[in-house]
């Protein structure tokens, strides 16, 4: 399977990834993503019938804990790194979404 990307496809992926791209990036990524996926085609040639996927390497879980209230991050500490916090309201501020 040969992999070629049009800039329109790159735009569709960028929209999903919430990335604004420059024209130079759109062209560059169209080529580079194609090259990388072309190389990845060898994975598709391997017979995996009946092989379960590995999503996690965890073999033994720590025992479940009680669902008890424990100290958590102070609200002001949590807001301290926000580019636009509203500390009086105890909230993060974002551009208006609803008109």
């Amino acid at each position: 399977m040969s992999v070629r990307f049009s800039t329109a496809e790159v735009d569709a992926i960028a929209a999903l990834a919430r990335l604004e791209l420059t024209d130079a990036e759109r062209k560059l990524f169209a080529r580079q993503l194609g090259d990388i996926l072309e190389y990845a085609v060898q994975v598709q040639r391997i017979d995996t019938s009946g092989v379960p996927p590995t999503a996690s390497l965890v073999t033994s879980h720590a025992a479940d804990r009680h669902d008890a209230v424990a100290p958590s991050l102070d609200r002001m500490a949590a807001l301290a790194n926000a580019p636009d916090a509203a500390p009086d309201a105890g909230l993060f501020r974002v551009p208006r979404v609803i008109g």
Partner: protein, 491 residues
């Protein structure tokens, strides 16, 4: 004047009263001031905080006397959260982020008496193999300053190799501890998945990320591991498996140990000087009574594409959190609009390699492509794990060179990401399988560039690879060498 270089030597000097914790700290800070402008191992140097800590350790001798890392300087990769100390991931999107909590591994080091001297440069969000993908500029290899130190924990490796810090913490998602350790002539250990808590590590690929030490010696790596290992309620993937006595495993006795070598894999595309050093390292182990066994890892050749499909998928999901709302950088957008604020913040905040991986990961997780790429890669990941399981029925450890080539020149591979990825051929499979793996110095090229030997062991059997690595270290002196400009250090 010579200064103690290893953790064990620093502890000895402090315990005997020959040096105070403040002496040791001032020495490290002095070396950082002298050499870091040329090397750029550090993003942030925490001089005042470090001296305060060292003074406290000197003042309360009774409390700190027996702490395993009392007064020992440590450099922390800038992807591990440090409370009150800027943590950037070498990214513009986090360049003002000051965490309100410590990573568990960092907290455990400080509780053991270690003194943090700074946060080290790395590839942005640990994505890279050269430390060139940093928003703050590249780190240079102290053995040849026109060359890369490896990555992504390049700053941590350089801090140790150049004697700016006695040891360092790094993270390893596809080789990011072992590869820079190899290219800088030091020891780098990636423990078993789940052995060391990931709490407070900025997530890249959650099923592949590991925290581990970079040190001068195997005994130092064993000591640091014994401090940071163990279950953590804050990381659900950390393991309740008991922590072994790693220091006690270093007996020098490897008689009867079986070392597997995947001949077909290591004979292909490896620099001849590295092949030669690798064979010589096997002979050192053979002379101590280990036997070398030919093994096959039939699916290891597919490890790189599998890795770059799985890692980018996980990264695209993990990095969705950087949206300019809760922390970090936010782009100015006029007129104000939420979606444009998101997309422009990420466009201006992330560098090219991070964007490339987010794009690739978003693509492979997309409806219609998921089965062909992501699911398929996870199935082949199972086959790679099975290859190792079968090998470990016959051998105690698997040996490979850590890297196929020595450190390359800065800028050489920037334009060709695929070429950069191919350099991870020997390291990524241990991340896919979750196995412990260590890189140790095993020689130098004729041009004076370090070469690393990698040993991989069965799950939770760090003790075995540490024992074999230590045995090799006892009969070689590669680890004693220091880059010419940084010679005033004692072992």
């Amino acid at each position: 004047m010579s200064h103690p270089r290893t953790i064990h030597a620093v502890r000895g000097a402090i315990r005997s009263g020959e040096q105070s914790a403040v002496d040791v700290c001032e020495h490290a800070l002095g070396r950082i001031a002298a050499h870091d402008p040329a090397l750029h191992a550090f993003n942030t140097v925490t001089s005042e905080r470090a001296l305060d800590r060292a003074r406290a350790i000197d003042r309360d001798k009774a409390r700190w006397k027996d702490a395993p890392l009392s007064g020992v300087p440590v450099a922390i990769k800038d992807v591990l959260c440090t409370r009150g100390v800027r943590t950037t991931a070498s990214s513009r999107i986090l360049d003002t982020f000051v965490p309100p909590f410590d990573a568990t591994s960092v907290r455990r080091l400080e509780e053991a008496g270690a003194v943090i001297v700074g946060k080290t440069n790395c590839d942005e969000f640990a994505m890279g193999s050269s430390t060139e993908n940093s928003a703050f500029g590249p780190t240079r290899n102290p053995w040849a300053t026109d060359r890369i130190p490896g990555g992504s924990s390049g700053g941590s490796a350089v801090a140790v190799a150049a004697g700016l810090s006695t040891f360092a913490l790094g993270s390893d998602t596809g080789g990011s501890i072992r590869q820079p350790a190899a290219l800088c002539g030091i020891v780098g250990l990636k423990p078993t998945y789940g052995r060391v808590s990931r709490y407070g590590l900025l997530a890249f690929g959650s099923s592949l990320d590991h925290v581990g030490p970079l040190t001068h010696t195997v005994a130092d790596a064993a000591l640091v591991l014994s401090v940071i290992a163990g279950v953590d309620p804050a990381d659900a993937t950390s393991s309740p498996e008991p922590v072994a006595a790693y220091g006690a495993a270093l007996t020098g006795d490897v008689r009867g140990a079986r070392i597997g070598v995947p001949a077909r894999l290591v004979d292909e595309g490896v620099d001849p000087e590295i092949s030669k050093a690798f064979r010589a390292a096997l002979e050192v182990l053979g002379a101590r009574g280990a036997s070398i066994v030919d093994i096959a890892l039939p699916n290891a050749g597919a490890a790189i594409p599998v890795y770059y499909l799985v890692a980018t998928a996980e990264a695209s999901s993990n990095l969705a959190r950087y949206d300019g709302v809760r922390y970090g950088f936010r782009a100015k957008v006029e007129p104000q609009d939420l979606l444009t604020m998101y997309t422009r913040t990420r466009a201006e905040g992330f560098g090219p390699e991070v964007k490339r991986r987010i794009m690739l990961g978003t693509y492979v997780l997309r409806a219609g492509y998921y089965d062909a790429y992501y699911l398929k890669a996870q199935q082949v990941r199972t086959l790679i794990r099975r290859d190792y399981e079968q090998a470990f029925e016959r051998v105690d450890a698997v040996a490979m060179p850590t890297t196929p080539t020595p450190a390359f020149k800065i800028g050489e591979r920037v334009e060709d990401p695929l070429q950069m990825y191919l350099g991870d051929v020997f390291t990524v499979s241990a991340n896919l399988a979750g196995l412990p793996a260590i890189s140790i110095p095993c020689g130098f090229t004729a041009g004076g560039l370090p070469i690393g030997l990698q040993l991989t062991g069965p799950m939770f059997d760090e003790a075995s690879i540490l024992r074999v690595a230590d045995a090799h270290e006892r009969d070689t002196d590669w680890w004693k060498r220091t880059p010419r400009e940084f010679e005033d250090l004692r072992i």
